[in-house]
Symmetry: C2
């Protein structure tokens, strides 16, 4: 599959457990699930880009140098998504790794507070500490299920992960800087990517505004899943806005501004808008911000190949965006009838996903398996997607159903 | 530090974010914390053994080819310990990686049930699914603080981690095999390591018994932190007994037996016993099994170098073994006075550790920082260790205190 990839160390660990396994890695690749996955893999899998060369090549699909998706069959059942298989979606080329050479020296400019100034990451670490586990999901996750084939990466389910961030609460930083100015209904973050020359910066800069209320649970994070945030995921410093889609979680954050208006950067004013099919984005349309209730099945999936008849543990993930999960139902007949699934594993808070499992006995034949989540406010995952030009916010349970074969 | 280690990919990720960073890795190594750690590192750090060559060399101390410790300064604040920095302690040489080439074909022999038989991992996966997060801790963690210098690895705090396992509940397997036989007060697991030739197997085999009541929350696990269990950590199948020290969580498990008596293997009958100082282990002494309430500070620690005067976020971890954590206190004066710390981050259940943080302002000078945890039964972490010949079960808060310098 990825034998040409020079950085396949994680793959060898996954399958054979050690870096000494070079000699047997080829053999291991012919066994078990790996065989089924190889059969299902596209003929010409792209290699991992250099800045993400440490990812587990077997667990991801490389769409392009800036878009990498977790395979549906790779999610496992451990709640937290390992960083080495977490999706990547960068709006601009990844900055040079010199920016993570001296992490504590990173500078953040804070404005819209009573004592605006530049704060180093070293100082941020003295201001407070919080840890939050949350679903990080690209706005376009599920785009691949839109029959209209919107432009953009055709993600299925794998532009998402449940990960743990540590950093300082934004509210602690605001307090240390004298509190908010009056009349600032927006929190605006600006990424530190180097912008291409000769282009109006506003047309390319990554700058997003969210309602200032989102500050309550937002953190400026320096740690992801127990390690300093890798460059690929926005290190040394990333704005984390739990419950909001990926683009609102600004990587390499250089400016945090509390502002009277939304940013006029194109990625805010025209990009990431819920635009009617055939239309163009404009500031009057809803911005893609909060996530809503969604679930999908991770096993069994067609990528695993034909299933043996008998008992199966159907499992997947469910999350509610800003709300916790109340329950999940699973259908074995494409949505005609539903059974209550069991939530398993630790509950890591309302922004994290829950794992669900339903034990079932499946006879030979084809089966359409679907899942449908309900959040703690009673919102039920819908059957159909909300059509929009760019394929955002697909939460349709029907789109996320899987057809499996029991032999 | 580890420039001679051929498998330093994770280190480069940690510091510079990408596998393309070879050219700058040397430079990065001279900055910030890395510099302080380099100064504190032993002159001749051992390289990672091949089966664990994928570990983050910068985050661990290699004591020997079978004993690898997480650095106190590397724990971070994300609750779950990343697998690439989780400690390793193997009682026997690691099996050949051929045993993880076809994981689902692994066979487990189950006895002491009404329908004893051999079950494949493939079949175990159909029997049930549960996920548990727990502290995995070597029985000898903290041995390095015993002034008596017991034989064995002188672990300080890093022979422990908080990790997530997925697998089938042991009770589901027992139920599928007809239920327990009568008169079996012990659950006995046997590891699948290849034993050295010419030696009585009972003197070296890894076989441990725990009270059958521990079955209630035990699982037979195939996944660790979202990936198939690496060989270094007991893959393809490991018995997980939450709340019990590491040795009771049998790697490469080949036999699960419900037995009328404890195993007579030497590691059970004479090893891992609470033996009076100067004595020899025997079956009449308490076996090292359940963990009890313990905590320690991970930052600031001397390895981080001198601290700047001013505000500091003192943080660490606390766990209760079989019980959850009720609270943690921190002392800035070596235990004379205590302040209540704040628990932060997700609560992953009673077997996991909690993170605690105390914000404090430290003037110039030396400070002895200590932490003291209380579990939800009201058990308080003791000041002193329980002396024993082999240096097991050190929970002393005084031993785990750190002396830091504020400049």
């Amino acid at each position: 599959m990825h034998d040409t990839t020079p950085t396949s160390l994680p793959r060898r660990r996954l399958l054979t457990g050690g870096a000494t396994a070079v000699a047997t890695a080829g053999l291991a690749g012919l066994h078990g699930q790996a065989l089924a996955q190889a059969a299902a893999a596209p003929a010409a899998a792209k290699p991992l880009p250099g800045y993400a060369g440490w990812k587990n090549a077997d667990a991801v699909v490389v769409h392009s140098s800036t878009t990498i998706e977790t395979k549906r069959s790779a999610f496992g059942t451990s709640v937290v998504t390992p960083t080495n298989q977490l999706y990547v979606r960068n709006n601009l080329p990844t900055p040079a790794d010199t920016i993570v050479a001296d992490r504590d020296a990173w500078q953040l400019q804070v404005s819209g507070v009573k004592q605006p100034r530049t704060v180093s990451l070293r100082e941020l670490k003295t201001m407070g500490l919080e840890t939050v586990t949350m679903v990080l999901q690209c706005s376009g996750n599920g785009r691949g299920f839109f029959p209209s084939k919107p432009s953009g990466t055709p993600w299925t389910v794998g532009a998402a992960g449940c990960v743990t961030w540590s950093g300082v609460p934004v509210r602690d930083v605001v307090q240390a800087l004298g509190g908010l100015m009056d009349g600032v209904p927006y929190m605006t973050g600006t990424g530190g990517e180097v912008l291409p020359a000769g282009i109006d910066p506003k047309t390319v800069i990554v700058e997003r505004s969210v309602p200032v209320a989102a500050m309550q649970d937002a953190i400026l994070a320096w740690e992801l899943n127990g390690e300093p945030i890798p460059l690929a995921h926005g290190g040394p410093l990333r704005l984390i806005v739990p419950g909001y889609t990926g683009v609102n979680n600004i990587k390499y954050i250089k400016q945090l501004a509390f502002t009277p208006k939304e940013s006029d950067a194109r990625i805010m004013s025209h990009g990431y808008r819920i635009t009617p099919p055939g239309g163009k984005g404009d500031p009057s349309q809803p911005s893609v911000q909060e996530m809503s209730v969604k679930s999908w099945i991770n096993s069994p999936v067609p990528e695993d190949g034909a299933q043996a008849a008998g008992t199966v543990q159907i499992h997947g993930v469910a999350f509610g965006g800003l709300h916790g999960i109340k329950g999940v139902e699973v259908s074995l007949d494409g949505g005609k009838t539903w059974r209550a699934a069991r939530l398993v594993g630790p509950d890591m808070g309302k922004y994290a996903w829950r794992q669900f499992v339903l034990q079932a006995t499946l006879p030979k034949g084809k089966h359409v398996l679907a899942s449908r989540a309900t959040d703690d406010r009673g919102n039920v995952q819908p059957e159909t997607r909300g059509e929009n030009q760019s394929g955002y916010n697909n939460t349709s349970w029907a789109d996320h159903a899987v057809t499996i074969t029991v032999a």
